[in-house]
Structure formats: C-alpha cells, structure tokens
Point group: C2
Chain length 256, copies 2
DNA sequence: GGGAAAGTTTAGTGCCTGCTAAACTCGAAT
DNA sequence: ATTCGAGTTTAGCAGGCACTAAACTTTCCC
C-alpha cells in the first residue's frame, strides 16, 4: 500500500543485482528522452522484451517506477535515488581502479559493473576519500553525490564543432573498449583541448588537432566524444595529491 | 597440510555466488575432519539443512564434490580448486582493504565476503601485486597461490602454551568482529610475541605478556588464537608502496 | 537389541529472473 | 477508415535457490 513518505531520505533497502541494473539502465535512458521504452531497456540489458515487462511490473508495485502499459516507464524519486546510488558506486569504482590500481580505462567499465553491486557504502566512501572526492570518473562522467545530486549537463559532440573552433573534451561513453583504446592512442581524453581543423562534407573524415598531432577520425567517432566550449574543467580521477594548475575550479567536491 | 595440484589448468566455469559459498564452506569444514556434514554446512551458511542437500546434489552431478547420503560430503580436486580460488580472492581482498584503504581488521571480513564473488582475476592479481604478493592475510590466514596451493599448517592455540613459554601469534579467525576488536586493543596480532605468564586451573583466567602489557584473558579467547613456537613469520599485508588514503596500519616486517 | 534422538533426505512450495510463443495495441500508411 | 507492422504484454514454462513438514537413516544409550 502507500508507505508513509517523509521528506527524510529513508534508507534504500538492499536491492538485487538485476534490480539495480534495471534501475540504472532506465535512468540512463531517461536522460535521453523523458521515458524509457521496454525494448530499449531490453536491448541495453540484453534480455528479452518480455522479461523487461515482468520486472517492470514488479518494480512498479514496489514504488521504484511508474509504468504506463504500451507507453513506457519512468523512475519515481525513490527509483532515481536507487539508480544514482548505483551510478555513484560505478563511477567511483572506475575512478579508483584507474588511478590507484592502474586499470586501463577501456577495461574498467566491466569490472566496475560487477563490483558496484557488491561494494558497501563504507568502502565506496573510503575510495572516494582516498581520491580526494573526485567529481567525474575517468571518462568524464559526473559522479553523483551520496545524496543523489548529479550535474548531468548538456554537451555538444565533437562532430558539432565548427571548423577552426577549439574546445575541451569532457566526456565519452565508458561502454566501448575499442573506441576508448583508440582515443587513448590519439591522446584524446577528458580535459584535453581539441581543435576542429577540417570537416569533409557528407559525413566525411574529420581532421583534428590534439596536442601536436593531427588525427583524422570518422564522424561516427566524433559524434561520441562530448566537448565543452572552454570554461573550467575539473580533471577526472584527480590523482590524489597533485594539485595541477592553480586555476580556481568551478565546482568543488561536496561534503568533506 | 600442503595441497598441491597444478596439473589440471582447465579454466573453472563462472560459478554463482551461492555455489562459491558452498564450496568455500565445505573446504573449510574439511580442514577440520575429513568430511563435511550437511548440518555443519547448513549452520555455517545459515541455511536450512534441506537446502544443503539440494545444493549438494547439484554440485555432485557437476563434479565439484562427492556425496555419500547420510555420510557427508567431500570436494573433488575440481571443487577444491574452485574453493581455493574464492579463498585466495577473499584473503587478498582482506589484505588490500586493510593495508591500502585502512579498513579495520574486524570489519574487513564482511566486505571481502561480498567482493570475492565480483572481483575479476585481473583485479585480484593487481591488488596482490600492489601489496607485494603477501602470503598471509591480516588475520594470519595463508593466501593460496593462483594455482591453488596453500600452506595450511597446523598450529597450537594460545591456550596450549605452557606457563613460561613464549610463542609468536600467527593467526585468528576473521569471523568474529568483537574478538578481533579486543585483540587489537591488547595489541595481540599476527607476528607479535606472546608469553604465557600464568594459567589458573579449571579453565580459569590466563595471564599473558604482550609487549609491555600483561592482559588477562579467558580460556575461550585463548583457544581461538593460534601460535607458532618461534620460527620465522612473514607478516600479512606487506604495506603497499603507495598507501594513498589509508593511515599506515600495516605492520612492519621485522628483521626476518 | 530396541528405541529415541539426532541428523539427513524427500516432497511439496515459492520467489526471482529469465525464456518463447502468442495475443494484443498503437500509430502510420494506404 | 482499415490494415499492417513494430512494439508490448500475457501466458506458460524453466532453473536456481531457499523454505517447511514429513519420512527416513544412523547413532547412541539403556
């Protein structure tokens, strides 16, 4: 029935691994286009659409989401909190594994994907503290705060830059290892400045300047790399103690 | 006893969490008394005896163990390998969490208990490397090698020391947080020398010397602390090279 | 040696999560 | 407006893992 809802953030019950995966997937789908479709959830989680319907029904009765049959699915505030907790874990794990254990950034996603369900809050916070409370993971994704706030900002893609324009790379999906390996190869990582040198018409190849190199990439790749015009950028997995650059950061780590 | 088995390098399939727990529990029960009884497995895993029977039947058909109805259960070489892999993970995780992240040694068990099912081999080996390949965990339990060899040696308990005798503490179970907290309080940890000063008759209190202190403990506690006459002892989690975040909790290797 | 007691297994269920096949809905195109 | 197809849901089912209650062994004690 209707459980009493206080304004106090009640503790989330311990969720199963599949449930956390569903909520996370739905959250991420909602980021693009208000509601999540059954089939999108299905393909993201690599399960049959019918399975999604079943799970969604259960989650709806438990208050994690609203489901309008044939229409789609949307997280409730409770569901969003649960999703963001999982996402926080994931991104802190990625940051930790990358900067402390030297995990390559193209492999870190899968590892974090499993650990995020097993790590306790205490562990996650210890890792965050060890890193100096980073605000973004190695791929540039913002890390939600413990109480569920994220700075999910809108970003242009590299493909949208005008010829001659320079921007700073901010983010790329963590889900495509070969893309990540290639980006590492051409030194295109969050925080790096990139200039659009030339763009061949009809989705032709794109010439960039990254550091001293001038890699030529396809439009497909460029569309997946997000950039930011030029303002402040907080480097991803803050290498603990290195206070590189004295510029006043825009945001600073919350809490503390 | 030293188990040696490296002639069968076939990869273990990915096991479920409950399966790993069963195999680990059975392995540990076998250490004390050749076969594991259904009810012992049940109480260790906090599950109904009937559930054990069911699981055991499945694991037997899959070749992980032999089951003689009403008689007990014994791991096959395959099952032992699986168990030791999980135990290796557990102990390396405990070592890492303790010495790199400053996890208190009484809480580390539960965390490792969950992570051991999620961490990949690659991660575990990275952690082991970061620690300098420790041979024992923070509680003194030996860490199996990647190919399943352990140095499970027999140890006397502290309660067995003669009055006047000095020994080195080597090990204590990781499963009892309050015991561990108390041991930490009286500075009784693996590697430390301890002398039996007095033993009151009829299971009376036991007076020890640990460092400069002379704690008096119950026979119950003394029975759980394992000691070694005097030979070399290799300290558990060799302090990592870069302890970022954690306070230096790690013991220092003495002369050795 | 004959019962109890203790321990173990079978029988019967339930929940979770996934599947396939079939039915249904919605909206776009005719 | 009817139809058709893509997308979604229902129905029915399976496997993993847990439970209780009841039946069955083994052990132990008189």
């Amino acid at each position: 029935m209707t459980s009493k809802r206080s304004s106090t953030p009640q503790a989330l019950p311990q969720l199963t691994e599949p449930v956390e995966d569903y909520l996370k997937a739905i959250y991420e789908l909602e980021m693009r286009g208000g509601v999540a479709a059954t089939s999108d959830v299905a393909s993201r989680l690599d399960v049959a659409p019918a399975s999604v319907t079943g799970m969604v029904r259960r989650l709806a009765t438990q208050g994690y989401l609203d489901h309008v049959p044939y229409r789609g699915v949307q997280l409730t505030p409770l569901g969003r909190r649960a999703a963001l907790r999982t996402i926080r874990r994931h991104r802190i794990l990625e940051s930790y594994l990358t900067s402390v254990l030297g995990y390559p950034w193209d492999l870190v996603h899968d590892e974090a994907e499993r650990l995020e369900h097993a790590a306790s809050d205490v562990l996650i916070e210890r890792m965050a503290a060890a890193l100096g409370h980073p605000v973004a993971d190695p791929h540039g994704a913002p890390i939600p705060t413990p109480d569920g706030e994220v700075d999910e900002r809108w970003h242009r893609s590299l493909a949208d830059l005008m010829v001659g324009e320079t921007a700073r790379m901010v983010r790329v999906s963590d889900k495509n290892p070969s893309l990540l390996r290639y980006l590492a190869e051409i030194a295109l990582q969050p925080g790096v400045e990139v200039t659009m040198l030339a763009k061949a018409p009809f989705d032709g190849p794109i010439t960039l300047r990254v550091g001293d190199a001038e890699p030529v990439v396809g439009p497909n790749l460029a569309a997946q790399v997000l950039v930011e015009s030029m303002p402040t950028f907080t480097p991803a997995p803050a290498p603990a103690m290195t206070p590189l650059g004295g510029k006043p950061r825009g945001r600073k780590p919350k809490g503390t």
